[in-house]
Symmetry: C2
């Protein structure tokens, strides 16, 4: 697959990005992005479960309801979250959608506005409204890359997964942003899964995909009030609906890996697999506790196979574990078994951590010795750079 | 109160510390400590709720049961947690207690052994047993400082609170260690509250004290498998039992503040007060979520009054909050009210964060606008030094 092909969108979609001066007035940094469909296509969204919600969320919910889930365009600004901005913030989000609808000629409710960035400041509405005509004009089938750049905040690189499955019968392009404030129990970032497939029950499909991908991803355990995951299908392709979930899940998992590897300050992704849990939910709870433990994450930053911290994190996670039957690997090196350490394997574990991530084989593999529950979970290490980025983000 | 007076123990207690070569063979770093009572006095202990438990915990539980809660001596080693060491670890902990009992001439069950340090390595038992006679010999009424030094791991300074209350009718000396892996839902560190008061229901008293102190303390959200809080009273003083809880709580809160201010890599303590919650438990849950948010903690490290991250943490904490009535202060500066930011007060908030901690007035003051639930919670910021300390601890 050529580099060029990766940048394309599924049939029926266009995209664009523009510098509207939201991140920095007068700068040429892209900060306003558009996804544009040839017609209004079915879409489903998952939004944050945070009690604090960005202004775009009630607007999107209302629009999806009024449009019957048919979406023509999605407008995303980065640099300002339009969150904790009261009723005025909601008016601003609506005004953005209205302007896009006017430019492309569709009902306002077919446009979803989204925002990401700093909390608590009003959107620079004039600059956004001024930029929208030019943005719509730029929309093109090869605009995914500009869009992916326009939605970034502290990310260091755009995140695009674009591929064809089932001998070309299925096109999926995933685009995401997210580097900090990434944690499950919500749409933990902005992520867009575009496909040429016909979506029958898009929300069910998206929930099932997110359960094995975006809900198993944590950078720092913080849940953002804004972020949102979208599944959107043009129906121009020929993939049977019942063959869709698995390829979509694979694409979403690849996005998770891209996000974890670009986690703020991250020097290494960590793929965690918890098995032998009483249930899949307990496996996820144990994995999430490991993934959010600062002591585990700093140990990985130091490439220290400190299994004691991992077992300790599992111990406090509140799930059933039989320590006499439990086991723990770092990569292929078994470090703990039958309640006892295996120090002779620490050198191999250390070597694993010092090697390039494999991305398919778990870096931390923990069997709880209780049942059949399983979860794969993506995270990254915690470095001094994370602290630097977040201590200085606003000031 | 003179500096000298602070170092003394309540009547009936002695203490000592010695270098046994546990942290580093042949070094003169104190790493074995002893608290010794003139007679066996009533004591109560709270232990970690981690499913992984240090070997000393089952031994202590068994000894307290067999002795009817009467304790003559507590032996603490630092540098090795004797945790995840299987049945042999339990034998080792027992052997340490047995040796102390032999030296001082008391039943073994009146001796509690405790350990803190690296997980997963056997204790250097010979070195500890060899050091015990000299340690017992050194025990003295002015030995609190040596003891406090001997139990440290990554701490940078000993933590002692010693004072007299009620016109001298009540002596309390608190000694603690703990710098990382500090989080509630357990005895989150090693902490010893010694008093000359007569304890009637020591476990009830200790639970009530811990609920307002050690269970409201987090450095990094990680819960250690080893740590333990002890309340121990000689009964030689004249304080009425019903006047005991408040001064003990005050002493324990001072220890919490000392631990937070010595949190690994911490550059600033953070006192959080959550009010207006549906219940005290919900207040604690919201406070704990703020206290463990890497984004909040790094913002404080950068002295950035980033109230959006705090409100966002409250939003994801799972407690009832009425954002239209909620408010948020940093120090005396109100930053959020009625669902809207008050940017005009950010300069005052920034000044508060850049000033020396007050320790009595909350740094973060959040009212949820729902009920009367209240909690005070101690934590510290998250700095690049925390990462450095924990990336390099073992390797």
């Amino acid at each position: 697959m050529s580099e060029r092909e990766i940048r394309y969108l599924p049939t029926g979609f266009q995209a664009a990005g523009i510098a509207a001066g939201i991140k920095e007035r007068g700068s040429d940094r892209l900060d306003l992005g558009l996804l544009l469909a040839d017609e209004a296509y079915p879409a489903a969204c998952l939004f944050t479960k945070n009690a604090l919600q960005g202004a775009h969320i009630p607007v999107c919910r209302e629009h999806l309801k009024r449009s019957g889930g048919l979406v023509r365009a999605i407008l995303v600004n980065a640099g300002n979250a339009n969150c904790a901005t009261g009723a005025e913030g909601i008016d601003d989000a609506f005004a953005c959608a209205e302007k896009v609808a006017e430019e492309i000629g569709c009902p306002t409710e077919q446009v979803l506005p989204m925002s990401t960035g700093v909390i608590g400041a009003r959107l620079p509405l004039d600059r956004i409204l001024d930029a929208i005509p030019g943005l719509v004009h730029r929309a093109a089938t090869n605009g995914a890359d500009d869009f992916a750049r326009a939605i970034l905040t502290t990310d260091t690189r755009p995140k695009i997964v674009a591929t064809r499955y089932l001998d070309g019968d299925l096109q999926i392009t995933g685009i995401a942003k997210g580097s900090g404030m990434i944690h499950p129990d919500m749409a933990t970032m902005l992520a867009f899964l575009l496909t040429d497939a016909r979506l029958v029950e898009p929300l069910d499909t998206l929930r099932s995909v997110a359960d094995q991908s975006f809900h198993c991803l944590s950078v720092d355990g913080d849940t953002s009030p804004n972020d949102s995951v979208v599944l959107w299908g043009s129906g121009t392709g020929s993939c049977p609906p019942d063959r869709l979930t698995r390829p979509l899940t694979r694409a979403a998992q690849e996005l998770c890996q891209l996000i974890a590897s670009d986690g703020e300050g991250a020097s290494r992704t960590i793929l965690i697999e918890v098995s032998g849990a009483a249930s899949d939910d307990e496996a996820r709870q144990a994995a999430a506790t490991i993934a959010t433990s600062p002591l585990v994450k700093t140990a990985i930053a130091g490439r220290d196979p400190n299994w004691g911290r991992i077992v300790s994190a599992v111990g406090r996670s509140g799930v059933s574990v039989d320590l006499a039957k439990a086991s723990l690997n770092i990569g292929t090196a078994r470090l703990f078994e039958n309640g006892r350490p295996l120090p002779e394997n620490e050198a191999a574990a250390s070597k694993w951590l010092n090697s390039e991530p494999d991305h398919s084989y778990p870096d931390i593999l923990c069997d709880l010795g209780v049942g059949d529950g399983l979860c794969r979970y993506w995270t990254c290490d915690l470095t001094a750079d994370y602290v630097r980025i977040n201590a200085d983000y606003r000031s």
